[in-house]
Amino acid sequence: MKLHELDISQLSGLIGRKEISVPELTRSVLDRISEIEHKLGSYISIDEERALVRASEVQEKIDKGEIKSPLAGIPMAVKDNICTRDMTTTCASRMLDKFIPPFDATVISKLNENGAILLGKLNMDEFAMGSTSFYSYFKKTKNPWNSINTPEVLCEGTPVSVAAGEAVYALGSDTGGSIRQSASMCGVVGLKPTYGLVSRHGLVACASSFDQIGPVTRNVRDCTLVLNAISGKDHMDSTSTGTSIDDYSKFLGKEIKELRIGIPGEFINNKGLLEEGIGKVFQDAVNTLSGTGIHFEEFSFPLMEYVLPVYCIISYGEISSSMARYDGIKFGYRAESCEDLIDLYKKTRGEGFGPEVKRRVILGTYFLSAKQYEKYYKKALKLRRAITDELEKALEKYDVIIGPVLPVTASTFTEHAGNPAMANEYDAFTCIANLTGLPAMSIPCGRDAMGYPAGLQLFGRRFREDILLKVAYAFEQNLGEVK
């Protein structure tokens, strides 16, 4: 077996038993990148030298017994909207193409303490507005499951790097579904933790009340190991909350037959939205799981029809405000030869932002304007509360709620990536978690007719990632790996 195909636990074991060294492992993943990156384009930047220096340092610390984390010495990468000191953090935007933060995001500091080896920064849609990299200023990342016979499928770099062995695990961000959607299309595991479980300090804001950082890994066990390291209260983010759970891996392998699992009818019976091929992959997975004695129950989630508009109104409003600081004055791109201040603003923002950012900023500005606020934003805030209450109520009855991640196949998703009217709709199943702040994840559950992976989505109770991961692990065991 090749090193780049192993998971965190396996690699950590090899390092611990001194069967491989951290520099060796790092070198091997860097070699894998050299071999395949030109075909995929997962990375916006790679810092080989830094990674190798760091690898030796970490090896030394492991030898001295100074680090005991399972993440020690494991090469990984992060999405390019997570701030890294002395390394560019571009958000895949012309606006920040040379931006080097003077500080590390809290998740980066925490991973450093755990001895992680950061290889580089991953491609994404501009300012995280999408899951395909279609709107990246730099390049488009290809799905590693592409083959000669299928139309090319795009994906953001985070899961691609993990699926293709260019990183053992990665950190992504999820505002409306990025982590789960892209993990689903690449056949890896992606978790959007409960809002507040992971500090957002150092995550470049897209929509503040929706954004969360989460792990993208090869399997559920790896997911728990990364979550252990990055979660917890942070004084730099006052919306972060601590929990008493210190090790999520200890819940894996526990019996789940007594648990109640709900499926919203609005997900699977929506023939207008749900593509048949995806419906079948999901149903097959449910059938397989039912065969092992797990019970599923369909339930009704009537407010589902409001989820998308409410998500768009509030998140676009927040986006219009969080994108406002890019004005050419302090950092980032500044247009040249401007006549006056207004001209500087117009040119800088006109040239620095791509079309999807502009679309959301314009719509968000409209929703927040004095004349429209009552009609859109205020109503949306009320509905957000109501949707949250309804889903939390359902979660009193069910331990976990499941459904498909995307309503369409990876190829349909890519086909419409540049068409906002269509692409918006595809966030319907995932953005619920961001709207309500609840945890949700994607685990591989099969492949569509063209051979692209499709994920199964699980929603859990607030701050009960322990139950969520326990169920995900049981599912993973029963569904088998997607090869």
């Binding site: 997570i82 701030c83 953090t89 958000c91 920040l96 931006f99 933060p101 003077p102 500080f103 995001a105 957002r200 300090h201 150092g202 995550l203 470049v204 804001a205 503040s208 009340s209 004084h235 730099m236 983010d237 006052s238 919306t239 409003g317 927040e318 219009s320 405000s321 406002a324 600081r325 004005d327 004055i329 302090k330 950092f331 201040l341 603003y345 500005t365 927040l368 304007s369 004095a370 606020y373 934003y377 805030l381």
Partner: protein
């Protein structure tokens, strides 16, 4: 034509006061005034991507203090909101402020005008962050931005339109300033911009019920400018109406040098700030226990102090008012009394010589260049007859300039009273000899002439002669003639 008396002026104020917390509202940077440009800054202060604001709890406490001291209701639940607009001094292009749920609401401050008490109601007090400052570079055409002030905590105090003259507005501001200083909420240093006001003014014929159209003047940063702006703007509005014109709802810029205001922009085309809840900061829950704790810790407020000075020390209302209107002055007074000085005498010195010198030398009353114990000592040596009143004034001037102990000044310069007959008698004789005219006047019954002669003798002794003794010697000597 003077029709001003037929009109009523209606004034509302929005006062911004910088809080005296040592660190900024959303990060731990220093709030200290001055410093090289962009040195009191962190990534958060300049709105760098990835940074998050974390609300400084002291800011909330300071605002509660201000609210309690101005008789406000304190909200049990409050939240922050974003106010969106583009300007280079606003690093995130939104100001974190409060929109619909301010920390404090429905308070008042009482003023006294022509012996009549009047309540000026406060609609709300909310917290927000200050912006940076544009510096116009003298060597190029561009402007530079200094973000040292960015994130300095402010409270905005919004009144109802309850004031009807520049004098009422002045009294309100004096009262507010004293309260903020007493409670330690703000140092209210206007020259450093830590207290500034937006003024809303309208006028209406006295017979008319409804309010007139109001204009707004922003960012006035001295009491003098505020008063002058109110006077000029109300006059302008009355003249406009009298000549058949109309007042437009607009923002006007006050030019204090020229003493006139200019139209800036009309409210119709006013900016839409697109307020919405700030999701990076969770709502703040203020429990009543905390509020009570803060209420108990409030110091004596100016109004109470004033009453106490009148009752306990017998100071006249006027003196008590002037001294308590400044916390620094009042604290100086209290310390002087604590050091043994008679309260009325101390008050006389403060009201007279001290205020005169502060004004003359342009010194702020929180920077009095000598400690209260020196004034107490000075009063003590006067009362003991060690120096004369005339000499005391000189010693006071010297104390003010040098900061030296008055006893040391007296010793060094040999300013003690001369009270022995052996020294003074020859002086008296000499003065009598040199001023035959005055002597004749005295003899003719003009007792005023004695004053002149004593003055001459004082001059000879450089003010050090014991006035009682010298008076007695003159009478004796003149009797002999």
């Amino acid at each position: 034509m003077n029709r001003e008396k037929d009109y009523e002026v209606v004034i509302g104020l929005e006062v911004h006061a910088e809080l005296a917390t040592s660190s900024k509202i959303f990060c731990s940077c220093s709030t200290e005034f001055g410093g090289l440009p962009n040195t009191h800054c962190c990534p958060g202060c300049i709105g760098m991507p990835g940074t998050l604001p974390v609300l400084n709890k002291n800011v909330v406490e300071f605002a509660i203090r201000a609210g309690l001291a101005t008789n406000c209701e304190i909200s049990g639940f409050t939240k922050m909101d974003r106010k969106n607009y583009f300007y280079p001094d606003l690093p995130r292009a939104y100001q974190i402020s409060q929109y619909d749920i301010p920390i404090c609401k429905d308070g008042f401050i009482e003023i006294e005008i022509n012996g009549v008490k009047k309540k000026i109601r406060i609609a709300r007090i909310h917290i927000e962050e200050d912006a940076g400052k544009l510096v116009h570079d003298q060597w190029s055409t561009g402007s530079l931005v200094d973000y040292n002030r960015s994130g300095v905590p402010l409270i905005e105090i919004v009144t109802y339109p309850d004031m009807n003259s520049a004098e009422e507005a002045r009294l309100f501001l004096e009262g507010l300033k004293a309260i903020l200083q007493y409670t330690g909420v703000s140092d209210c240093k206007m020259q450093e911009g830590s207290l500034r006001a937006d003024v809303n003014i309208s006028v209406k014929p006295k017979s008319q019920e409804e309010l007139g159209v109001r204009t707004e003047m922003k960012n006035l940063n001295s009491f003098r400018a505020i008063i002058r702006a109110i006077e000029a703007e109300s006059r302008r509005q009355i003249e406009e109406l009298e000549s058949g014109g109309k007042i437009y709802r607009e923002t006007r810029r006050w030019d204090d040098e020229k003493g006139v205001s200019f139209s800036m922009r009309s409210k119709e085309e006013a900016q839409d700030y697109r307020y919405f809840p700030e999701s990076d900061i969770p709502p703040v829950i203020i429990d009543s226990e905390w509020v009570e704790e803060i209420r108990k810790s409030l110091p004596e407020l100016p109004e109470t102090r004033k009453r106490r000075y009148m009752e306990e020390y017998g100071l006249p209302a006027y003196d008590a008012e002037i001294i308590t209107s400044s916390k620094a002055l009042s604290d100086f007074f209290e310390e002087t009394v604590k050091n043994g000085a008679n309260a009325k005498t101390a008050s006389n010195w403060i009201m007279g010589e001290l205020l005169r010198l502060l004004k003359e030398k342009g010194v702020e009353d929180d920077s009095i260049p000598f400690p209260p114990v020196h004034l107490a000592k000075l009063i003590d040596i006067i009362e003991k007859g060690i120096i004369t009143g005339t000499i005391a004034k000189k010693v006071f001037d010297n104390m003010f300039d040098s900061g030296k102990d008055p006893v040391a000044i007296v010793d060094e310069q040999g300013l003690k009273v001369v009270a022995d007959t052996g020294t003074l008698l020859p002086v008296v004789k000499k003065v009598i000899e040199n001023n035959p005219g005055s002597v004749a006047d005295y003899k003719a019954g003009k007792t005023k002439a004695l004053g002149f002669l004593m003055g001459q003798a004082m001059r000879e002794t450089k003010g050090k002669a014991d006035p009682k003794l010298i008076n007695q010697l003159f009478i004796e000597e003149l009797e002999k003639l």
